[in-house]
């Protein structure tokens, strides 16, 4: 899909997800009626949980930030025709690298230490993704299997590190030492200890989305990535180095997931906390990217939707006594309907038009 043909049908592209969200909420309402909760109260709680108070708004943004980055990660790989299931692991090594660079170096000025810390997270994530990327490009090994395995390696490797080599000896819990203040992202309100955890990471994530958009649509490297993703044989015919484009997209994808990890460490956690399981940002990123159809700006919207649903679900549970599981059902129904856009289009008059378009096209083949 090119940026040019897109502007024409933007309303159509927007209409389907909006209706899908509404229907998803309606389905959720039915479930709530089953469980005896009042949907209106619940959705009121959802909204106030996300936007109702400054802290709530802040927490929503905190949740959305890494999702934007992992969404971008999956989207960039997807544009080259690769399925990056490994964002989860790339994010973990990003967190590890940022934590290590953040606490081992001391006495550096912020202007050096902070970028260095974030960059190290991105590099680590990029290299982690480069392994399946290289195997795919050189030997044709399927990236899905490899990147899943890389997730496990990252998870258990981090487990080992934070319970041993990088564990803070002064603490009982398996945490790394805290990073230097010079490596922390700026919190908008009240400094590093503030209850408003929203920080400049969100700005970095939005800038990343803009840069990825520019990369894909304004640069020759992005053109190559898109060409390879749409038709690798034609790209090869045209003289594009298909392997290089794939490897490059995986590297960028990994660095975006690594960025998610770096922002978590530098903006929120300030240290590496032992993970008992995958946090799910990498996997949710897949849904975010698909929802946005790989469009970086769409990812901003899709990640926000996810963030709102996720954050709101906690509040529904607290304020309207809706089980968190029901919130999960709502979230899943919304994503289901947005992803299965054919279903939603079927309810709209635009389906007839689209179908006839196809028919007319076949005729002219």
């Amino acid at each position: 899909m090119s940026m040019n043909s897109k502007s024409k049908a933007w309303w159509r592209e927007l209409l389907v997800p909006v209706i899908a969200v509404l229907v998803g909420l309606a389905i959720g309402a039915v479930f709530m009626l089953f469980t005896g909760a009042n949907p209106l109260d619940a959705y009121g709680a959802l909204l106030s949980g996300c936007f109702g108070s400054p802290v709530n708004l802040s927490e929503t943004i905190v949740y959305v930030t890494p999702l934007i980055c992992t969404g971008l990660s999956i989207a960039v790989a997807f544009r080259a025709g690769l399925f990056n299931i490994g964002a989860e692991g790339q994010m973990i090594v990003g967190m590890l690298a940022s934590a290590i660079v953040g606490y081992t170096l001391t006495g550096l000025p912020r202007i050096i230490h902070l970028p260095l810390t974030i960059l190290s997270g991105m590099v680590a994530g990029g290299l982690w993704a480069a392994v399946p990327g290289y195997l795919k490009a050189k030997f044709g090994v399927h990236e899905v299997v490899n990147s899943i395995m890389m997730n496990y390696i990252a998870l258990y490797f981090s487990h080992y590190l934070v319970n041993g080599p990088i564990k803070d000896p002064n603490l009982a819990s398996p945490y790394s030492p805290e990073i230097a203040d010079a490596a922390k992202l700026w919190r908008f309100v009240g400094g590093h200890g503030s209850e408003f955890r929203v920080n400049s990471g969100i700005i970095i994530a939005v800038v990343a989305a803009i840069l990825i958009y520019r990369l894909l649509y304004k640069t020759t490297k992005g053109y190559e990535i898109r060409a390879v993703g749409l038709n690798p044989e034609a790209a090869r015919y045209a003289g594009i180095d298909v392997s290089a484009a794939m490897a490059r997209s995986m590297l960028i994808a990994g660095s975006m997931a690594g960025l998610a990890g770096a922002i978590q460490v530098c903006g929120i956690q300030y240290k590496f906390l032992d993970l008992f399981a995958f946090e799910g940002f990498g996997f949710d990123g897949i849904a975010v990217a698909l929802l946005a159809k790989g469009n970086p700006y769409g990812i901003l919207a899709a990640a926000s939707l996810f963030g709102v649903l996720n954050r709101g679900s906690q509040m529904m549970q607290l304020l309207a006594t809706v089980p968190k599981e029901t919130a999960g059902i709502i979230q899943a129904s919304v994503v289901f309907l947005v992803a299965a856009e054919g279903i939603v289009e079927g309810w709209l008059p635009i389906r007839r038009m689209a179908k006839l378009d196809v028919a007319g096209k076949e005729e002219t083949r």
Partner: protein, 520 residues
Amino acid sequence: MGKPQSVPVLEMRGITKQFPGVLANDNVDFKLEKGEIHALLGENGAGKTTLMKILYGLYEADEGTILVDGEEVSIQEPNDAISLGIGMVHQHFMLIPPFTVAENLVLGAEPRKHGIFMDMESAIARANEISEAYGLAIDPHAKVMDISVGMQQRVEILKALLRGAEILVLDEPTAVLTPQEVTELFEIMRNLTRQGKSIIFISHKLKEVLDISDHVTVLRRGKSIGTVATPGTTQQELAKMMVGRDVELVVEKGPASPGESILEIDTLHVLDHRHLPAVRGVSFSVRAGEILGIAGVDGNGQSELVEAITGMRRPSSGRVVINGRDVTGVPPRQVFESGVVHIPSDRHRHGLILDFTLAENMVLQTYYRPPFSKRGELDWETIHQEARRLIEEFDVRTPSEKVAAGSLSGGNQQKVIVARELSRKPELIVAAQPTRGLDVGAIEFVHRKLIEARDDGKAVLLVSLELDEIMALADRIAVIYEGEIVGIADPDTVTEEELGLMMAGAMRGPQHKAAGGESR
């Protein structure tokens, strides 16, 4: 049957079908007599397929009536058509490759044993029965994926006959066949009409239509232009009906004035994707200002040869020299940068990125160079300008340069490729089946452009499966058989028979001396 002779077996009256923005069928009349082969001729997008899809119940007509054996019928879905004795063989086969021929034949009407099990024995018996009844030999045990395309088509025809088809619709049946298979198919078709079947033959190939049909109905832009009896009409007349103007079926060209050698191929060996020898010691040269045609039956090493020249496949030995520069085994970009352009034989697989816009497709090889990009940044304004210029110059029919290439008709897609390739100021043009699937108007256009390029001093290597095309364009003809050049012929003196024999490996022509290379 039992009806008076004058009642046509099928009649379609006043069929109109509107798609958004396109009147695909505009008050079309069509009449099929019993036992005849009736060709439905028209350019891509003329409405042939739409008309047949209406007949088969895949589309519903906005207006018009259909009569079978003189009685008005209503066809809502393919099952209605089948029960009326109408069978269709689609251009793309509807077979299940891992299933056997017998399994495919009975698909949807499987004979059963004990209610739930498939009765394989009676399926095979039924397959043998039907193949004998119509003299169409098949192996019911063979898996469809293991048999040739011609055989698969035979299975499709038998499938329709098994369901009681009296009227057979064959949608561009020759598009996928080799010349020999076409001959066999025509034999089958004649046989079927002798047994009382009536056949609608969809095609845009004039020669085939003249060869096989009894009547021809020509469609143009959704309208029926007329029906003529095949004896007594000519290719010229049909082409004019089809396109709406006089068409040069053979583009006029003057004698070649060859200059120095641009492409030198020296004892080239190339393996195919299964690592079997596909090109075996080929040597020839192409000079500036001449068209060298490579004639041959499909699968004799043409694709591998072209891929080896254009850098898409590494030769196992031998040399490719372009303009004095050895480009053996270098990647495609370096080949292009030595002044080569390549019109690939498969426009969907190689030539275009269908989801890219025309503008994006127009710079597929040149996007990384000024003026289309500077320091890694694309200059969309220049790219769009260039695309508009090429669309204008090469008469690509499109609403704008911003639409996806996949939304254009095949002919216009090919024009996009030809425009892009010829605009790259080549010294050598490698054109592999440059008119595959195009109709007469578009063929004339591509041929004219290739001859213009030749007259402009370019070297042209033309690879084509269409002997007519080779005869019309080439200044010298090299015949390839089983990966070897079995002869190089002068199109002015050689006959089609001689070429045919060489293509079949039954005769060798004058050898490599005529190739101009000292390489032997």
